[in-house]
């Protein structure tokens, strides 16, 4: 197909990657946005969700927040934030045009999977393990730090991993409101009927998403400490076997 051949030509032309507005710069912009939004969401969401999980309260809120989040189109949220007077900043440090609006929308978007997973992770530490910790005379804080946190960690990390890939994908939408990132290549290509360019941008975004997914999977493996895994392989009772993560939370870039 001709378009695909042209796309390949676009991708392999060095000039399209370099300089101001080149794909390399846009990719860095988008990575910066994604990681900042993810860090902000984790900083807000993790403590609250894990504390609620520790107390065993607010489950309804934690679960339903992700259902509500699914119904709100990120594009609409982003558009509203960009058009509103507040936050009235058009440029924000290295985040470029539409900066703060994109950052807020992405952070809000990353919160549901992080909160839901972290809450469920702490909540689902087996009751007998909790009771054993209480029986050993641990205080609430000790039980959280020494028992619940280590056991919940793999699931918590998988929530962050899910959020990372979703945020990266959603960050492309910023381009629909003239924001930064690789989405610019896609929308520019479409608005100027330069389809090979649009498709080239899509290919790069999809490839980076896959790379991030692989890196996150590696990171997740590191967060699940090998000693625990060997113990569970021998049939240890501490592994919390049978806990499964619902990895498929919501589509990317809604």
């Amino acid at each position: 197909m001709n378009v695909l051949a042209d796309t390949w030509t676009y991708l392999t032309t060095a000039a399209h990657w370099q300089g101001d507005g080149g794909m390399l710069q846009l990719m860095l912009q988008q990575l910066l946005l994604s990681i900042t939004a993810l860090a902000a969401a984790a900083a807000i969401g993790l403590p609250v969700a894990m504390w609620l999980g520790h107390l065993g309260r607010g489950g309804f809120l934690a679960i339903n927040i992700s259902n509500v989040g699914r119904a709100v189109p990120t594009f609409a949220l982003l558009a509203l934030l960009v058009t509103a007077d507040h936050p009235g900043v058009t440029t924000f440090g290295p985040y470029g045009r539409a900066g703060v609006a994109t950052l807020i929308a992405l952070t809000l978007f990353a919160l549901p999977p992080i909160i839901t997973n972290a809450y469920v992770a702490v909540r689902e530490v087996p009751a007998d393990v909790r009771q054993a910790a209480d029986g050993m005379g641990m205080t609430g804080a000790q039980r959280f730090r020494r028992v619940e946190l280590p056991l919940a960690l793999p699931l918590v990390v998988s929530g962050v991993r899910l959020a990372l890939v979703q945020v990266w994908a959603t960050a492309t939408i910023a381009a629909l409101v003239a924001g930064p990132g690789l989405g610019r290549v896609i929308t520019d290509g479409f608005y100027r009927s330069n389809y090979p360019k649009g498709i080239a941008g899509a290919v790069v975004v999809a490839l980076v998403a896959l790379v991030l997914e692989l890196l996150a999977a590696l990171g997740q493996r590191l967060a699940d400490p090998p000693p625990r895994r060997t113990r569970s392989a021998r049939g240890g009772a501490m592994s919390g076997s049978g806990r499964r993560v619902n990895e498929a939370a919501e589509p990317l870039g809604s």
Binding site: P73, A76, L80, L210, P251
Partner: protein
Amino acid sequence: MTLLVPTAVAADPSCYSRLTNEWVCGQYLRDRQSEIVDATTQHLEITVAAVLLGVAIAFPMALVARRLPRLSSWILGVSTGIYTIPSLALFPLLVPFTGITATTVVIGLALYALTVLVRSMLEGLRSVPDDVRESAIGLGYGPTRLLVKVELPLALPVIMAGLRVATVSTVALTTVGSLVAYGGLGNLIKDGVLTNFRAELLTASVLCVALAVLLDVVIVVAQRLMTPWTRGVRA
């Protein structure tokens, strides 16, 4: 209406003029009614078509995955893999095959719905207790009748839960279709951003969320009607 009386215009400008640009504006709703209804209809059509297409593809996939366990991880892997492609990137990738049409958006959204749908169908079918299945076989049910009369009804609550997730997120995702001009309410949102038109922007966004809630309620009601036996047991 007030064009003949310029002073009245100055005293009472419409709430969506360039000067006032209010978020909430009844005048806008009245003046652009047909445009808004058209966009909502398109949004609804694209969403429903995408979810139905998703169900049509997911069902055989789930059946194959259940029959051949070796294929099941592969099938789940593919449907999850599609998920890692951002929506704004998926539509352009489909364009060389389907062109700038509503088909592109419907197919793209259906592919996204697959992940949730295949998973929930597979889980639903697996949740049917073995003894129920064996009783039905003992009563002389063939494979097809077993599936239609026994397994599907029992799997329905889990399948419908998946359908709710898929539908609600498809409504939200349809807005991105505005990239190829078929985004329903997303087209209004895009126009609202480009022309800095707040009433249009807010109206389309609110309608979009309302549509998601409405469809969710429709599915819940449908499920209640289709599975009368679940009531009372769970209460």
